[in-house]
């Protein structure tokens, strides 16, 4: 019995909690991608670097706050800097829409052209972020590190194995829930949100109904800026901020959005967790958990790690390929072909 409990604790500590946190971050990222796809009808390859940009502004403001002695108590100061990051990112994405994407919208260009253009925007952002903050790891988290510490947990429960919940993981989940709830409320209960859904559903009919396309586009970018900054900041707090990593997140984020069904917000969330859980479980070394659960003679010698962590995005990629081969519209039937 104790063994089962210990196994569960290890599972929770090394698989469940990290996967839930990572899944929330991916879900927020995928929501941004899926919104752009649903309303603006193109795959935004610049999303990863948009997240990096937003997080960068948050980091700079956080440092500034920290230098002025402002803090947020046990919570990271970065949360206070979040509105500034969102504002800056909003200016950035709306600016890039005005200067870049709008032209192609007005000339009704092919989706592929939008993709290439978003690549161009990605490179500009890439250079910009590195220019301003450099390519290296930046740390900016402060406040209480843990909600529960391993030692405290062991004392409380008397088990051999300990469990720790980092503040950043807790914040990630709470923030994600709040953001998603707010987003769904907006999309389903407000006139503007419904007009966005109508525009995404049937553009011609929406125009006929008098819905202003530029306003819809504007609100979409605002929401995307908020989602990108929040997702990026949560990820940066939880793991670390390094511009290159945000580019690498493109693959799991797009995989999550596609798996869930591109254009479907609910799908983006589900996809985020599917990808996160797959990545974590496949690259986790199961030796400890198995040893607790099976009789001694069956205990494994090796680490029982299916794939090394180096290959973690191979996991998202394989899942993506499988979905593309079997069900390209995704789990929740988004727009596809």
């Amino acid at each position: 019995m104790m063994d089962i409990l210990n196994a569960l604790v290890v599972l929770a500590n090394f698989v469940m909690i990290p996967a839930v946190a990572y899944g929330s971050q991916l879900a927020l990222g995928a929501l941004g991608v899926t919104l752009v796809y649903g309303v603006l009808r193109f795959s935004n390859f610049a999303h990863g670097d948009t997240m990096a940009f937003g997080t960068m502004v948050v980091i700079l403001v956080t440092w500034w706050f920290q230098s002025m002695g402002i803090s947020f108590g046990p919570l990271p100061t970065a949360l206070l800097a979040l509105p500034f990051g969102i504002a800056a990112t909003a200016v950035l994405v709306i600016g890039s829409d005005r200067m870049v994407y709008r032209f192609y919208r007005q000339t009704k260009s092919e989706p592929v052209v939008f993709l290439i253009v978003s690549l161009g925007v990605m490179f500009v952002l890439n250079g910009l972020v590195r220019f301003i903050i450099g390519p290296n790891d930046q740390s900016f988290s402060d406040g209480e590190r843990f909600i529960i510490k391993v030692g405290d947990f062991k004392k409380m429960t008397g088990l051999d194995e300990g469990l720790a919940i980092k503040t950043t993981q807790g914040i990630t989940v709470v923030t994600a829930i709040v953001v998603v709830a707010a987003l769904f409320w907006f999309l389903n209960k407000t006139r503007t949100g419904k007009s966005m859904r109508a525009f995404s559903d049937n553009e011609d009919l929406a125009l006929l109904s008098g819905i202003n396309p530029e306003r819809v586009v504007f609100y979409t970018w605002l929401i995307v800026a908020a989602l990108a900054t929040i997702a990026g900041t949560l990820y940066g707090l939880d793991k670390s901020f390094k511009p290159f990593v945000y580019f690498q997140l493109l693959l799991p984020i797009f995989a999550a959005a596609i798996v869930g069904g591109l254009g479907n917000p609910l799908g983006a969330i589900a996809g985020g967790f599917v990808i996160a859980f797959s990545e974590v479980t496949i690259t986790y070394a199961w030796k400890k958990v198995i040893t607790y659960v099976v009789p001694e003679t069956w205990a494994p010698d090796g680490l029982v790690q299916l794939l090394s962590t180096e290959y973690k995005f191979a996991v998202s990629f394989v899942i993506l390929v499988i979905v593309l081969l079997i069900k390209p519209t995704g789990l929740f039937k988004g727009k596809s072909l």
Binding site: R191, K194, N202, L205, L208, S209
Partner: protein, 237 residues
């Protein structure tokens, strides 16, 4: 003769920079009346109606609503002037509920439209029953009712329907026509393009038979149905 409520007068034009599809074509509706446009495939029926709605280039001729020249207005502006348009396909927001579809229909309205919604539900009781269901899940006939209901939310003075019974079973077609008559009874003029010429002409106050973008026969529904020429050419004798 007084000016009809809505008239597309001697329209000549086509899409974009393309050739003329309509040649001196005239379509008119009186207030509270049902006018139907019929003709063989490719006759330019939908094109004529789209011309009245402003979706193509009218190079010669004019369109007038209640005496006002609206030839230069965009479709959205014509909606503001009181025109309603139900396209043939993709005429609902499939992923949104029936009620949300109606809400979107009333998007340009700034006043309280709950009474109008009640009127639409009275007209189409099945929609009230399914108000919270996704419109895309409804049957073909019910979807058409959603489409018409959506267009009615702006309280238009004239409602234009592009082949409303396309792809619908005969029983549903009868029901739809019945509803259309009721809409006309509330004082809204109806302009309709129809493939099912016989049934459409039976409920029409005025009928226009178009051939290759020009008026071929014009008259009341009954007159056209009785006309031997028309019957032979388009109604199967």
């Amino acid at each position: 003769m007084s000016e009809p409520f809505l008239i597309g007068d001697c329209m000549t034009g086509g899409y974009g920079k393309g050739p003329d599809i309509l040649h001196d074509c005239t379509i008119a509706v009186e207030k509270g009346e049902i006018a139907v446009i019929v003709g063989p495939n490719g006759a330019g029926k939908s094109t004529a109606m789209k011309a009245v709605f402003g979706m193509l280039d009218v190079r010669q001729g004019a369109v007038r609503l209640d005496g006002k020249d609206i030839t230069k207005l965009s479709p959205q502006d014509r909606v503001l002037q009181g025109m309603g348009f139900v396209p043939q396909t993709h005429n609902i927001f499939a992923s949104m509920t029936v009620e949300e579809n109606l809400e979107m229909g009333a998007y340009i309205r700034t006043d309280d439209f709950s009474q109008t919604m009640e009127q639409v539900y009275d007209l189409f009781p099945i929609l009230r029953e399914k108000r919270n269901q996704a419109a895309g899940e409804l049957s073909g006939g019910q979807r058409q009712q959603v489409a018409v209901g959506r267009a009615l939310m702006t309280k238009p003075t004239v409602l234009m329907l592009d082949e409303p019974t396309a792809g619908v079973s005969p029983i549903v077609m009868d029901e739809l026509f019945g509803r259309i008559i009721e809409v006309a009874r509330t004082g809204i003029s109806i302009l309709m393009v129809e493939q099912n010429a016989h049934q459409a002409l039976e409920i029409a106050d005025k009928g226009y038979v178009l051939v290759q973008g020009a008026n071929a026969y014009t008259g009341t529904g009954k007159e056209l149905l009785a006309d031997a020429e028309v019957r032979k050419s388009f109604l199967g004798g």
